[in-house]
């Protein structure tokens, strides 16, 4: 935590620090329970437990014959930022894409275990994956605006969903919510491809929040961006968590330390010649970065591994 304060010279960083302060207040109200077993879900062990959004129970994911992740259990609490970190190939993105059933379209995808979302099984037979994705929005690694104007990028999903009343207002608010309105308000009719990478990514966030989801999943949203654009995305997330529950995959440990309330460390386990992703430790971010219980976590966050 202290490292990011000292190496934060720019203005955006300072704002981040203010937010960090807020989070530490939150932490004070909800002291981490050091004795709770990490894998059982830290959220559960808190005195003033937050509502659980995702309750992941021992899931394993396979593609064809190969197992991508095995035996992952964790609980994602409401209105917090939960970060998933770990070396590349450890299955953190696969895990994230299970949370809104984006893996359904991948050939050979198979899942065992249970993911409860507000107590409902996400993979129950009568669940419509389209309804799932409508409630659990997602932002991807590379900005992927639709081949449409800026306005239509935001208005497209609401139109599909029949939210046609006050569409202009909805678009404006979503763009404001993504801190993009002032930059694009005079060129809403222009192609979204004309925006910079950082702007495109914020547009993707705007279009995701325009349909008022419950959760936002972010898959390394800043990895394709320059540091300045990254900082603005991070600010935005700290803002958005007041409205949405956020789960973010990042390969950038400083990023996780800066913005996340909870952090889950995934690792690549090799057994019998097969490489499988597994959850090693899940706890308060400060615990993960300063007092990890598992030596592998410690090695990773201090840069000795990965």
């Amino acid at each position: 935590m202290s490292t990011e304060v000292t190496d934060a010279p720019s203005t955006p960083r300072q704002r981040v620090r203010i937010q960090t302060g807020e989070r530490e207040d939150l932490g004070a109200r909800e002291p981490a329970n050091g004795t709770a077993p990490a894998l059982a879900g830290a959220g559960q062990a808190k005195p003033a437990a937050r509502e659980t959004i995702f309750d992941v129970r021992d899931i394993s994911v396979s593609y064809g014959a190969s197992t991508a992740i095995a035996g992952v259990s964790l609980k994602v609490p409401r209105h917090l930022i939960t970060a998933l970190i770990g070396p590349s190939g450890c299955g953190k993105s696969t895990f994230l894409r299970c949370l809104n059933r984006m893996n359904d379209t991948v050939p050979g995808f198979g899942l065992t275990g249970q993911i409860l979302y507000h107590g409902n099984d996400l993979y129950a037979p009568r669940v419509d994956p389209v309804e799932v994705r409508r409630r659990i929005g997602m932002v991807f690694q590379r900005p992927n605006p639709l081949p449409k104007s800026i306005y239509d990028n935001v208005a497209w999903a609401p139109r599909n969903l029949g939210m046609k009343a006050n569409l202009d207002e909805r678009v404006e608010r979503a763009l404001r919510g993504a801190a993009l309105w002032e930059e694009v308000k005079d060129r809403l009719k222009q192609s979204a491809f004309g925006l910079s990478g950082g702007q495109q990514q914020r547009l993707c966030i705007a279009r995701a929040i325009a349909i008022e989801p419950d959760v936002l999943l972010l898959d390394e949203p800043a990895s394709a961006l320059d540091p300045i654009a990254t900082a603005s995305i991070e600010e935005l997330m700290l803002n958005l968590k007041h409205r949405f529950t956020i789960v973010i995959v990042t390969h950038n440990m400083q990023q996780a330390a800066r913005i996340a309330d909870r952090t889950a460390f995934f690792s690549l386990e090799v057994s019998a010649g097969k490489r499988t992703g597994a959850l090693v430790e899940y706890d308060e971010t400060s615990t993960i970065f300063t007092r990890p219980k598992d030596p592998r976590t410690g090695d990773y966050v201090t840069g000795r591994f990965g």
Partner: protein, 322 residues
């Protein structure tokens, strides 16, 4: 630059507490604990989406059914007349009688296509080499455009061109037909060769140059042999296309005898496409029967070549990928 500005803009938005969300989301806020089954509105959208998928599937099945229908029509009518005599004998002296065969037409089509290949293949390969090895970017693009346009010229127009060039004032000839078929094959051979040559790693050429091997030796000894499979596949496909091409031959090599002849410069060469065409314009069931047989032979050849080339191509691709 715009990213810098964006950050400062983002900053002002941040200083405001994020109130605008409350306005935005105060409306129709859904209960997150509601079951995840499709709402009525979503059910409607899903039904529409599946209906579109069914339509698309039906369209694909329709195309396959058309293919099956045409192939079945030809095969069921054509297979019954197939015999050794049919493949070797000429048509009867009087068209309105049964029996006879299409031997001279098979030989003639093979001759016409063979000559066309002999003309088109070297020119096509050299033109492809020009595009990949010698030409400037602009020249290569220009030649590519010329080849694409040549490919787009209606074959009946091509026939009139060759008629003016070779036949006008003289008589029809098999060579004129082959010449037109060669022009049809040229862009196909050239583009297929070009695409294969582009797949040959540039490093191979650079290595040759670094070793002091002259350009033409490198091409002949290394580049062309590596690309040979693709070039031959492309040429064979072009050949199959030329074999079924009828428009030029109807103008250039239509009035032919019932026997095999190799006087390609002075006489029309009997060929399968024109024989089928003529049968289709006459009300003569005996001629139709022979034409179905001819169509079956031609179609069989073309489909086999296409399937074979496709298999070779797939194998070549896999090899290149490895």
């Amino acid at each position: 630059m715009s990213d810098l500005e964006s950050t400062s803009e983002g900053g002002t938005a941040l200083l405001d507490p994020p109130d605008h969300f409350d306005d935005l989301f105060a409306s129709e806020r859904l209960d997150p604990a509601r079951p995840l089954t499709a709402s009525r509105q979503l059910r409607r959208r899903q039904i529409f989406s599946r209906a579109m998928e069914s339509t698309q599937t039906a369209a694909a099945l329709l195309a396959v059914a058309m293919l099956a229908f045409v192939v079945y029509s030809v095969a069921s009518r054509g297979a019954s007349v197939l015999s050794f005599e049919f493949l070797t004998a000429g048509p009867p002296a009087i068209e309105e009688t049964a029996g006879g065969g299409i031997g001279p037409m098979i030989v003639g089509t093979a001759t016409l296509v063979g000559i066309a290949t002999v003309i088109a293949m070297p020119i096509g390969i050299l033109a492809a080499l020009y595009m990949t090895e010698f030409a400037s970017r602009r020249a290569a693009r220009l030649l590519r455009m010329v080849l694409d346009l040549l490919f787009g010229v209606p074959s009946i127009v091509l026939a009139l061109f060759v008629f003016e060039l070779i036949v006008a004032g003289k008589s029809e000839s098999g060579f004129a037909g082959s010449f037109a078929l060669a022009i049809i094959m040229l862009p196909l051979v050239a583009r297929a060769s070009q695409e294969t040559l582009l797949l040959v790693p540039q490093g191979l050429r650079d290595a040759a140059a670094a070793l002091g091997v002259s350009h033409w030796r490198a091409l002949r000894g290394v580049v062309l042999p590596s690309a040979l499979g693709g070039i031959i596949t492309g040429t064979v496909l072009a050949l199959a296309r030329a074999a079924g091409e009828s428009a030029p031959l109807i103008i250039l090599s239509a009035v032919f005898s019932r026997t095999v002849n190799f006087n390609i410069f002075s006489e029309a060469t009997p060929n399968i496409p024109v024989y089928i065409y003529k049968a289709s314009t006459a009300a003569n069931p005996y001629g139709w029967a022979r034409a179905w047989g001819a169509a079956f032979v031609l179609l069989l050849f073309i489909l086999i070549v296409n399937i074979g080339a496709r298999a070779l191509h797939a194998r070549g691709r896999r090899k290149m990928a490895r």
